[in-house]
């Protein structure tokens, strides 16, 4: 029965029925195509459904923000992407955007205004924190996380890029788990190695992979869960854990997945 299934309305459907949602959920390319990160997208949509947030996605109308092209130097391609995305978003008169990708978040929030796209942009970590603070997300607290050690890996594009250090940590604290910090955290957070377009090429010659260095640090905290808030960090840290052959003991999870598990209790 359609009553009991999850709803994923698109902006086009909403517009056709004369509705305008409170937020646009910007899914991002990793959230749409990456097998691992699709799970995060689904978890976040489940939370939105459960809480009853009025939202919509662009669906097939969404395209790459252009961030990887821009960071790799291709300003033309970036602006072509940005300008067409802005046309679509402005066409739907979008005011508020929530996204689970820090790179999309940074680009839409900080770089689209110069090209005519002015929106209130919220990263899903801050959005989840808001929902928890407002009491709209009620964690069942079945004790699944109690006493478990979680370490949080700062995404560069949330942290240093946009000064978001506390929201993801507060979300994790709501889980009642023990949050253990890596030595390099917050402003000194060590990159996963995927930013600046590195996700799409092999690393330059060196003596070590960046993600392995970071994973070793995360593992040394003794946490059984590495929490991330970025699709690229997710890939790099998961690969790192595999490289260290620890995938049996240590899980890499996005904040949305952890909260969604917490909702189910």
């Amino acid at each position: 029965m359609s009553e009991n299934t999850y709803k994923v309305p698109t902006m086009a459907e909403m517009a056709a029925s004369g509705e305008s949602p409170e937020i646009l959920f910007w899914v991002g390319c990793a959230g749409s195509y990456d097998d691992r990160y699709k799970n995060v997208t689904k978890a976040f949509v489940k939370i939105l459904n459960t809480v009853g947030v009025s939202f919509a996605v662009l669906g097939p109308e969404e395209t790459c923000t252009g961030d990887p092209a821009r960071r790799a130097g291709n300003e033309f391609l970036f602006q072509m992407q940005a300008v067409s995305n802005i046309q679509v978003m402005n066409g739907y008169n979008i005011k508020k955007v929530v996204t689970a990708c820090p790179h999309c978040f940074n680009t839409i929030k900080n770089e689209y205004p110069a090209l005519g796209g002015h929106y209130e942009v919220i990263h899903h970590s801050a959005f989840l924190q808001q929902l928890i603070n407002e009491g709209r997300v009620k964690l069942k607290g079945g004790g699944e996380f109690k006493g478990r050690k979680i370490t949080y890996h700062d995404s560069c594009y949330l942290g240093r890029a946009n000064n978001i250090y506390e929201a993801p940590r507060q979300v994790l604290e709501a889980l009642d788990a023990e949050l253990v910090e890596m030595k390099r955290c917050r402003t000194k957070g060590f990159c996963c190695g995927a930013g600046g377009g590195q996700m799409f090429k092999d690393a330059e010659p060196g003596k070590k992979e960046v993600n392995v260095e970071r994973t070793e640090e995360a593992l040394s905290t003794g946490a059984d869960t590495i929490a991330v808030a970025c699709p690229f960090c997710m890939t790099m840290m998961s690969d790192g854990v595999k490289n260290k052959e620890k995938e049996g003991e240590v899980k890499v999870k996005d904040l949305a997945e952890l909260i969604e598990e917490g909702l189910r209790g």
């Binding site: 299934t5 130097g73 291709n74 600046g196």
Partner: protein, 446 residues
């Protein structure tokens, strides 16, 4: 003969000033090789940044031990300058300790504070020399820190140590002379630190004491003038540049990349979007896209380069550098300054300047270096004087991508994917929304 010393002093000051002014002009010329950008918004925030970060040393305190040692050097430099003012007055007027009549009881206090700072500077410099040369702090031994940069760092510390020793020697000899001929040597009061050196000079004749005192005095004042000129060739220039550099540093979020308006005009035209910018006639010829050489960077990028004191905090936090890649953000800044100085020097001697067949990209900074950058901004965050190496890396990448089409092959594939599939990976755009299919079929939790 009576005025000989004064004449010599005036001559030395005049020559030093002449050289200094010339050097400052060269540095100004180097910075102004960069493209013009207007940075004069939010003056209040800019003053605040300068006060907190340059004057208040805020970002230094991320590493407390060097921060405290550095604070002694910085405080010593600022406050001992009051004493140097007395030196200058004495030098011009032929007086000895010209400030004694005006400061009265405060004078010994002042002198003791100066001596305390001189000793603090001296000890800090010795510790810094040990740290730099014996303790093998990693950031001081990178591949860009050999030859001149290494010598420069040690010279600065050694010069500061000798200058401080000169003050203490002068004061010790002077205190003997105050006892032997009080009519010529006004009482400074007991000076704690230099009085510890007094036994060294006890058995000297008055004549020898005068020689020691005068030699130390001349050594100190000429040394300071010489050091001021030296600084203009050195990484030590940060003692001045830190102030304007923090004032003009970006106020926008660190993650924000600067928009290329020239590209926006073209993109709008291609997409048939009418804007005021398109309607307006093109104001000036469009230069290169991105940066190949120093003149493609902004004057602020070049000011950054002249402000760098090569401390290496950026490099020591760079994930690429830590994992053994060639990239070092500090080297990016050093190369930029070296290239700017080379161009200015070349132009000054009637050479070809920027047209000398060399360029910042390729001759100084290689693609391998910039391609290793993860744009994580750790370098920008780490810099105690708000230098932004990442902006230069971005500009060089832009040149490689847009003017040379020289990006790595896998980046070119990524570009192509975005162009044709609207995603950096090779997936069909029609599949973008497939993730929702199972979800729409899944039974929702209450």
């Amino acid at each position: 003969m009576e005025y000989l010393a004064q004449i010599v002093f005036i001559l030395i000051v005049a020559v030093a000033t002449y050289i200094l002014v010339r050097r400052i002009r060269m540095i100004r010329k180097g910075i102004l090789l960069g493209k013009d950008v207007k940075i004069n918004d939010h003056k209040k925030d800019r003053w605040r940044n300068m006060l907190l970060i340059a004057f208040g040393q805020k970002k230094m305190f991320k590493r407390p031990i060097p921060a405290v040692l550095h604070l002694f050097l910085y405080g010593g430099f600022l406050i001992i300058n009051i004493e140097v003012l007395e030196f200058v007055v004495d030098g011009f007027t032929g007086a000895h300790r010209a400030f004694t009549p005006y400061f009265g009881h405060v004078y010994p206090w002042m002198m003791n504070i100066f001596e305390f700072l001189a000793v603090a500077v001296l000890i800090s410099c010795v510790i810094f020399l040990v740290r730099r040369n014996l303790l093998r702090v990693k950031r001081f031994h990178a591949y860009e820190m050999t030859q001149w940069p290494k010598l420069d760092a040690n010279l600065i510390l050694i010069i500061e140590i000798t200058l401080m020793l000169a003050i203490l020697t002068m004061n010790a000899a002077d205190q003997h002379l105050q006892i032997r001929s009080p009519e010529h040597y006004p009482a400074s009061g007991k000076l704690f630190f230099s009085s510890l050196l007094m036994p060294l000079f006890e058995n000297m004749s008055t004549g020898s004491l005068i020689v020691v005192e005068r030699t130390a005095w001349w050594f100190h004042i000429v040394g300071i003038l010489g050091f001021a000129i030296y600084i203009t060739y050195s990484k030590h220039l940060h003692i001045f540049m830190a102030f304007p550099n923090t004032y003009y540093s970006a106020l926008s979020p660190q993650g924000q990349m600067k928009n290329m308006d020239a590209v926006t005009n073209e993109v709008n035209m291609m997409l048939g979007i009418q804007t005021e910018a398109v309607a307006a006639p093109p104001s000036e010829e469009i230069g290169r896209f991105g940066a190949k050489d120093v003149n493609d960077l902004t004057w602020k990028n070049l000011m950054d380069a002249y402000s760098c004191t090569e401390c290496g905090r950026c490099t020591s936090e760079c994930p690429a550098n830590i994992t053994g890649k060639l990239l070092s953000p500090r080297k990016i800044m050093m190369d930029t300054r070296d290239r700017a100085e080379e161009v200015v020097k070349n132009m000054g001697s009637g050479g070809k300047g920027l047209e000398d067949g060399k360029s910042l990209l390729h001759d100084y900074i290689t693609k391998e270096e910039i391609n290793a950058c993860t744009s994580c901004q750790a370098c920008v965050e780490a810099c105690p004087v708000n230098i932004n190496p990442l902006e230069i890396i971005y500009e060089l990448k832009r040149y490689v991508a847009m003017e040379e089409s020289g990006s790595p092959a896998s980046w070119n594939s990524m570009f192509q994917n975005i162009e044709t599939n609207f995603a950096p990976w090779k997936f069909a755009p029609t599949d973008r929304f497939n993730w929702a299919n199972d979800l729409k079929a899944e039974k929702a939790e209450k």
